[in-house]
Symmetry: C2
C-alpha cells in the first residue's frame, strides 16, 4: 500500500491521495482485521502473479464462450494443484481471495465440486461410504456437482419430480425423469465437466414415497467422458453472467444405480426395501449461516470494487465547469456525482462489517450447538436470510449507480461494471430467492410479535427492540449531534412500527379469511417489516463497529456510517414523519446534514477506496486502474478487440462491399 503513489501516475489521482487525512494502511488494517491478514494478501497476490498458469493469455472479455470454458478448466486445475499455498481451512479469508484472484468474477467447472458436492459427501455419507468417496473427491479423481433444482421446480423441494425407485430384486435404485419439467437444471459444472453428481430425488420403496433423498450418481464414463446410457446431459446455454461455468441439465431414463449409492448417514433403505427413517433432524442451519457470511462478504467486496472504479474514474475525469473560466472540474466535485457514489461506498463498508459479525455469530452458534443449545438459531437464521436479501439487492442497485456515474465508458466491458453486475445480481436469486427470504424473516418476526403481544417474548439481542417501549418523539436536535444511540432508537422505532403494523394487518385479515390467504394478502407489508428489521441491524452493527476505531480513520468512518443512516432516513422519511415522530424541521435538518456529509467525504474519497487494497489484477477494470492513466489504457485495451485482428473484416467482402459497389455503379 505504500506504493499507491508512483511516478507517471495521473496528477489528479496523486493529488487526491496526498490530500487524504489518514493513513491508508490504518484503514486497511481496520477493514481487514490484522497485519497478518494484510501480509497474507500480499503474499498470495505475489504468488498468483508469479505463475503464468494462473493468468489469462488475453483478457477473458475478448474470449468466446468455448475459450472461456477451456481457460477456466486450465486455471482450476492449476489452482487446485496449489492449494497448499493457502490456509484451506479459512475459506472466508484466504480461500475467497485466492480463488477470486485466479478465477475472477465467474464460477469455474469445479465450483460445485468444492462448495456442494464435497460437503454433502462429508455430511450425508455413512462411514463406509465416506471411506470410499471422500478420498476420490479430495484427490480430484472425479468432478462432482450437486443436482437438486429442476426445470419446473425450485424452492419447493417436496415437488421434485425425479424419482429413485428401489428394486429389491436387483438391489438397485432406478432413477427416472418422468417428464421434461423433471430435468435437473442449473447445477454448475453439470453440463460438460462433471462426471459424478449428488442427485436429489424422491425415494420410492415398497410402493411408498419417502420424500427427497440424496444419491451418488456416476454420469459419464471415467475414461472417455461420454455420458452413460440412460443419461442425457448438457449445457443450459448462455446466461447474464457466469459464462465460464457450464451450468447443466440432466435427464434420467430408467437409470440404475446400486442400493449403496444412496447417501445413508441418516435415512437408509435395507436390501429388502425396508425404509429406515433418519434418527436426528438435520441441522443444516449452521452451514447456511456460514455460506451467507461468505456471500455477504463477497457482495460487499463487489460493491466496494464498483465504488472504487467509479471514484477513481471520477477523480481523473474532468468535464464541465463549475466556476466559469476556471477550467473543467473533476466530476467527483459534482454533488450529484457524490450522491451516486458515496452512499454506495458507505454501504460496502456496512455490509462488510455485517459479514464479519455473521461469521462470528456462526462460530458462536457452532459452539452452542456442540453443547446442544439451539436457542440462537432461529433468530440468526432469520437475520441472515434477510441480510442476504437486502444486501444482494442494494449491491445490485449500487453497482449500476456506479456504472451510470461513469457515463459511456461505464457501459464498456473495459470498465468491468457489466461483469461485476452480472456476477453480483445473481445473488438476488440464488441461495434463496430474495422475496422468499424476506417472507421467511417475516414468519419469524410475526412469531416474535405474537410473543411480545402475549407478554412472553424471550428475545435475544437482535430482536430485543421489538419488546422495547420507545419514545414517541425523535431526540434528534442537530444533524451534527445525531449519532450512535439516538440514530438507533429512531430506526428501532420505525422497524418496530412496521413489524406491528404488518402484524395487526395480518391479524385483521385472519378474521376474514383462511390464514394462508391472509398471509398472502399481507405479503408486501410483511416484506417491508423484514427489510426494516435488517436495515436496523445493519446500521446498528455499522455504528457499533466504527465506534471502536481510533485515530485519524475515526472521522471518515463516522462520516460513512452516518451517511448510511442519514440516507436510509431521508429516503424513507415518510416513515419517520408518521405519528409526528419526527417533525419536518427535523427532517430538513437531517437532509442538510446529509449534504454536509457528502462534502466532508469528498476529500478522502479516493483514499477510502484505496484502503480496500484492490490490486489492478483483482479489480480488472481499466477505469479503476490505480495509476489513473485511464485513457491510454482504454486505447490499449480496445486494440485487443476480437474485431481488430484484421483491418478489414471478411464480412466486408461479403455484404457491405458489394452493396457499396452496386450503389456507386448506379450513379
Amino acid at each position: 500500500m505504500s506504493n499507491l503513489i508512483q511516478t507517471g501516475d495521473n496528477a489528479d489521482i496523486t493529488k487526491e491521495r496526498r490530500n487524504a487525512t489518514f493513513d491508508i494502511h490504518d484503514m486497511s488494517l481496520f477493514l481487514y482485521g490484522s497485519e497478518e491478514i494484510l501480509k497474507r494478501r500480499k503474499e498470495m497476490l505475489a504468488f498468483v502473479k508469479s505463475k503464468p498458469e494462473f493468468n489469462d493469455p488475453i483478457p477473458t472479455e475478448f474470449m468466446n464462450r468455448e475459450q472461456r470454458v477451456d481457460n477456466g478448466a486450465r486455471k482450476i486445475v492449476a489452482m487446485t494443484d496449489n492449494t497448499d499455498e493457502i490456509d484451506a481451512g479459512d475459506f472466508f479469508g484466504e480461500g475467497m481471495y485466492f480463488q477470486g484472484l485466479i478465477m475472477g468474477r465467474d464460477l469455474h467447472p469445479m465450483s460445485l465440486h468444492y462448495v456442494m458436492f464435497l460437503p454433502t459427501i462429508q455430511g450425508q455419507s455413512d462411514d463406509e461410504q465416506l471411506d470410499e468417496w471422500l478420498p476420490l473427491t479430495i484427490s480430484r479423481s472425479f468432478v462432482g456437482t450437486y443436482a437438486q433444482t429442476e426445470l419446473g421446480h425450485g424452492t419447493n423441494l417436496s415437488k421434485l419430480e425425479t424419482t429413485a425407485t428401489y428394486d429389491p430384486k436387483a438391489g438397485e435404485f432406478v432413477l427416472h425423469s418422468p417428464s421434461i419439467t423433471a430435468a435437473k437444471w442449473w447445477p454448475g459444472g453439470l453440463g460438460k465437466s462433471a462426471n459424478v453428481a449428488i442427485v436429489v430425488a424422491n425415494l420410492y420403496t415398497q410402493g411408498e414415497c419417502k420424500g427427497p433423498h440424496p444419491f451418488f450418481v456416476q454420469l459419464r464414463d471415467y475414461d472417455t467422458h461420454e455420458p452413460l446410457k440412460g443419461i442425457t446431459v448438457g449445457d443450459i446455454g448462455p446466461k447474464l453472467g457466469f459464462n465460464t461455468s457450464d451450468n447443466g441439465f440432466l435427464l434420467f431414463n430408467n437409470f440404475r444405480i446400486p442400493r449403496r449409492n444412496m447417501l445413508m448417514r441418516y435415512a437408509k433403505v435395507l436390501p429388502d426395501g425396508t425404509y429406515i427413517k433418519p434418527q436426528h433432524a438435520k441441522l443444516a442451519f449452521g452451514t447456511m449461516v456460514f455460506v451467507r457470511s461468505i456471500m455477504i462478504k463477497d457482495q460487499s467486496t463487489q460493491l466496494a470494487a464498483a465504488a472504487c472504479i467509479a471514484k477513481r474514474y471520477s477523480a481523473i475525469r474532468r468535464q464541465g465547469e463549475i466556476k466559469q473560466g476556471a477550467g473543467e472540474v473533476q466530476i467527483l466535485d459534482y454533488q450529484t456525482q457524490q450522491l451516486r457514489i458515496f452512499p454506495v461506498m458507505a454501504r460496502a463498508f456496512c455490509f462488510m462489517f455485517a459479514a464479519y459479525e455473521i461469521r462470528d455469530l456462526y462460530m458462536k452458534v457452532t459452539e452452542q450447538l456442540g453443547e446442544g443449545n439451539t436457542e440462537l438459531l432461529p433468530e440468526i437464521h432469520a437475520l441472515t436470510s434477510g441480510l442476504k436479501s437486502v444486501v444482494s439487492y442494494e449491491v445490485a442497485l449500487g453497482i449500476e449507480q456506479c456504472r451510470m456515474a461513469c457515463g459511456g465508458h461505464g457501459y464498456s466491458q473495459a470498465s468491468a461494471f457489466p461483469e461485476i453486475y452480472a456476477y453480483a445480481v445473481a445473488g438476488c436469486t440464488y441461495e434463496g430467492e430474495n422475496i422468499v427470504m424476506l417472507l421467511q424473516v417475516a414468519r419469524f418476526l410475526m412469531k416474535a410479535a405474537e410473543e411480545v403481544m402475549n407478554g412472553k417474548a424471550k428475545l435475544a439481542d437482535i430482536c430485543a427492540y421489538l419488546a422495547k417501549r420507545g419514545a414517541n418523539k425523535s431526540r434528534l436536535r442537530t444533524a451534527d449531534e445525531y449519532r450512535g444511540d439516538v440514530i438507533i432508537e429512531d430506526l428501532e422505532h420505525v422497524a418496530r412500527n412496521q413489524v406491528f403494523r404488518a402484524y395487526d394487518s395480518l391479524k385483521r385479515k385472519e378474521k376474514e379469511m383462511p390464514s394462508e390467504e391472509a398471509w398472502n394478502k399481507t405479503a408486501i407489508e410483511l416484506c417491508k417489516a423484514s427489510r426494516w428489521h435488517v436495515r436496523l441491524y445493519l446500521a446498528k452493527n455499522f455504528l457499533h463497529k466504527i465506534s471502536t476505531a481510533k485515530g485519524a480513520i475515526r472521522e471518515p468512518l463516522e462520516n460513512l456510517a452516518r451517511l448510511y443512516a442519514f440516507d436510509i432516513i431521508t429516503s424513507s422519511h415518510g416513515e419517520f414523519l408518521r405519528g409526528g415522530f419526527m417533525s419536518e424541521a427535523q427532517l430538513d435538518e437531517l437532509k442538510g446534514g446529509f449534504y454536509t456529509l457528502l462534502e466532508r467525504l469528498r476529500r478522502n474519497a479516493v483514499a477510502i477506496v484505496d484502503s480496500w487494497d484492490f490490486d489492478d489484477k483483482e479489480l480488472h477494470s481499466i477505469l479503476g486502474k490505480r495509476d489513473g492513466n485511464v485513457y491510454s489504457s482504454l486505447l490499449d485495451w480496445a486494440q485487443q478487440s476480437q474485431l481488430n485482428r484484421t483491418q478489414v473484416l471478411p464480412t466486408f467482402n461479403k455484404y457491405l462491399g458489394p452493396m457499396m459497389k452496386e450503389g456507386r455503379s448506379k450513379l
Copy 2:
C-alpha cells in the same frame, strides 16, 4: 390476435385468456391507434418472416462477436434492399417496427448512417454539397457515421480536442488528434463498417479557433476498405450490450481534406481562410424532440416486452401452495409477484402514451416553427429532456424487477431479459446523460419559478400548475373515488412544493456563494424537482388518455392508470404527509387501494400484455412464448448451446481428464 388461443397451448395460459373481461383487439386498437396500423404490423411481420435473409440461422445468443457482426451486416443489407416495403417517412411507426423485427435488440453497422449521418448531410450541407453527397448516401455508395464524442470529452462540446486547421496554400483542412484523449470514441459502425464520417472538430483558420464544426471525411479506401494513411481506426471492444455494433475509435495524424469537405450550409471558410459566421442559429431542438419521442416509444416497448415475458411465465409457473393441499399455485397469484410486475406494466402503458403525446407536440412545434413561432420550444425541450431521463431509468429498474420475478430462468439468456436490459439501460446514458438532463430541466423550472415569484409568468399548459394556488389539503376521501383531477391536484401540489423548495434553497445559497457553486450545492434538490415535474406530466397524460377509452377496456385501463398514480404516491408518501397535506389515514386508505388494484388487475394480467401484439419473433424470449410451453422450449433452446456441439469438449482431454487420471492413479 384472433389466434392467441391455440390447440396445444399450456392450459394455464389459455385459462387466463379465456378469463379476460375485454377483447384483446379493442385494447390493441386503443394502444396503437388505428385498424390500419394493426393491419400494417401484421403485413410487415408476415413479410419479414417470409424472407430467409431477414432471419438468423441460429439465435444470436449462440453466436460469438465476429459472427454477430457478420450476421448484422448481412441483415442490414437485406433490410435496406427492401425499404420499399414500408412507409419510410413513418419511422416512429413502421420504421421502428420493421427494423426491430429484423435487427432485434441491437444496433447494426448502418445505424448511424441513417440516424445521424444522413440527417447531418441533409441539414448542414450547402446545395452543391448536397448534390454531391446526398445521392451517394441514399444509394448506399458508402457507409457513414457521425464522430463527435471523444475519449476524454462527452457532453461539453467546447472542449473537443480534434482540430481542423485550414491551410490556405493547399486549400485544405488538416485534421489532427493532438492527444489520446482527442480520439473519437463510441460512434456506431466507425470501427469496421463505415468508410466515411461526419467528424466534428474545432476549426482553426487565420490563427483563430472558431469552435466545433462538421466535416465530411473519407476514412477508408472505397475499394480495398483499408484505412487511409493518417487514419487510425478500430473497434472499441465489447460492451454491456449492442455487441453486433462495431462502435469505434478514430485518430488523425495530420490528415488532409479539401476545403469544400467542411459542411457549409451555415458557417463557411473561404479559399483565403476568411471565416464566415453562420447567419441563423441552428434550430436543432425540433429534431431532438422527435428523437426523444422515438426513444420513449422504444423504451416503453422494451418495458412492455419485459412485463409480457414475466406475466406469461408467472401464469404457467406453479410453485408453492397458498391453501395447503390445494396444489401448487400460479406464481402470478402471489401478492409480492403482482407488486413486482403489475406496476411495471402500468408504466409501460404510461410511457407509450407519453411517446404519442410528444410526437404530436413535435408536429405542433414544427408547424409553429414554420410560422416563426418558437414559444412552445423551451417548455417542450425541457419536458422531453426530463422524460428521457425519468423514463429510461424507470424502464431499466422495471426490466430488472421483471427478470428477478422469474427466478433462475430469468437469469438465462433464454429469457431475453439480459438482452432487453442491456439494450434499454443504455438509454440512461446516451442522448444526454440522465443527471445532466435533469439539471437542464431544472434550469427551465428555476426560470419559471422566478417568473412566478415576480408575477410575470407566461406558462403554457405543461407548467401552468407552478402558478396555481392549490388547496392545502388533499381532497382524497376513499381510494375508490380517488381519480382523475383529484389525483392530479395532489401531484401538482407535491411537484410545485419541490420546485419552490429547490428554488428557495438555491436563492438562500446564492447569497452565500457564487451562483455556480450554489447551483452545484442544490443539484440534488434540483433533480428531485425535475423528476416530480416529469412524473406529474406522465400521470396527467396517462389519466387523460384513458378517460377517452370506451367499453370493456375502460376498466382495466383505469386500474392501470390509478395503479401508476397510487404507486407514485404511496412510495413517496413522505412528500404527501408534509405540511399535513395528506393525513396518515388518507395514506393508509391509498395503500389499501393499491393492494385492491393489484387484485383487480390479476384477472386480466395476461390479456393486458397480449394486447401489445408482440409476436414470438419480436419478443425473442422462451419464457414469454405465446403458447406458454416454456419448459420444452427451454430444453430445445439449450440443446443449441455452443458447448453442446460435441458430447465431450476438447478441454476434457487437456485439463480435467488428465487431472482425474492422476487422482485415480494415486489411490
